[in-house]
Symmetry: C2
Amino acid sequence: MGDTQRQRLEAREEAILAAAASLFSESGVDGTRMAEIARKADVAEGTVYLYYKNKHELLEAVVDRFWRELTKGAKAAVTSNAPLSQQLTELASYHLHSLIDDFKIVEITSRARQRHGEPGRQLPQIREYVRVFDLIMQRGIASGELEASTPVWQMRDVFYGTLEHSARTLVLREQPFDGSVIDNLLSLFDGYRLKHYPTKQDSGSKQAALELLQQLESEISRW
Amino acid sequence: MGDTQRQRLEAREEAILAAAASLFSESGVDGTRMAEIARKADVAEGTVYLYYKNKHELLEAVVDRFWRELTKGAKAAVTSNAPLSQQLTELASYHLHSLIDDFKIVEITSRARQRHGEPGRQLPQIREYVRVFDLIMQRGIASGELEASTPVWQMRDVFYGTLEHSARTLVLREQPFDGSVIDNLLSLFDGYRLKHYPTKQDSGSKQAALELLQQLESEISRW
DNA sequence: CATTAATAATGAGGCATACTCAGTGACTAT
DNA sequence: ATAGTCACTGAGTATGCCTCATTATTAATG
């Protein structure tokens, strides 16, 4: 049956990819020989080249798959219709954990971007991953929880960039994870939150109004 | 004269470094052959190895020098005793411009960090560069312009990480520079600013006090 | 200035390794 | 059973990093 045949091929391709991912991650790209990958995947060296044109394409495939898997997880963290702040927290936590766990692959990513020929490209799967972050910002704007005056991509860059850099800081310090990074980021993000002063139509907000008034009074009373 | 001799050696070392920097930056590390570097530096291939043990050490030297130069510029941008927000703006602008201009080297940096043997190290000159950012945050805290409850490194990660990621976004979009990124970041940073309510001793602040009161009134009047 | 010693530079060749390809096997269809 | 197609193999080739015996240059010495 041709179906089993196709499955065998896909299994081989997967075995090669997995072997490469694990070895690249462990010993780096330069520290990994093609012969090793072949041996670990249990194929002859030449066979690798039937599935991937060269070492660089194999690297690209490894990196691309990593971000594809990450995208799945990120989408899952965001799918619920919980309040914005909670979704941001979940996404941030997932993101930070992942970057820390697979830091080696994250670093290797920039190398996959550089195709020997020329200009720095964005790999499609990374683009896709970043879109998840954009999506959540857009939803926040649509629901009125985030102000619309700041471009989505700038809010996203703050969110994404901060976490990426924090991951680097933590890894280089050999601290595994620190949730306070996320708390900090989220409290900063309040700067993007719309301040809702209750309106007259808003009948259920009497309580909120009183709290706000109290806060103002307390601030005034300080001088 | 032994002095001229030493100068000639240093000039050669510099020529090799410059050749490597320019070629790495143009064609990437893998796209650059040692023979090319030698030719561009006008020495024999073997001579390169009298100054740098191997290609990877040469790469490290190139990257390290880049960040060392950057540190100089950053320190200059911060040396004045202007108000915090202005210094942050200058540093951010310098940082963003530099990362965009030499994006290729920035990307190559992560590769220099990975020594074939083992774990991701932080190159000393990058550490030094990041310290400039820490310094400015610390000053802000010392002068009471920034709150002290958030760890310095977290504020720095927000600042640094956001700009680094923004640089990537801009470069991949082939937009050269966008100052609004900096405005956005700085207005967000207001979240770290201490709110100064004027005190009774603070005789010169009558004006500020009135403005604050007016703002409160306007906010209250909205409902 | 001649001679010797020390230091720097050279580039042909060694060597590791990414990649190729002619040959072999395995599976399918008739 | 036979021919034809497709996947696989691994010895061999090409490339590019790096070494090292040799040569050139500078410094030291009498």
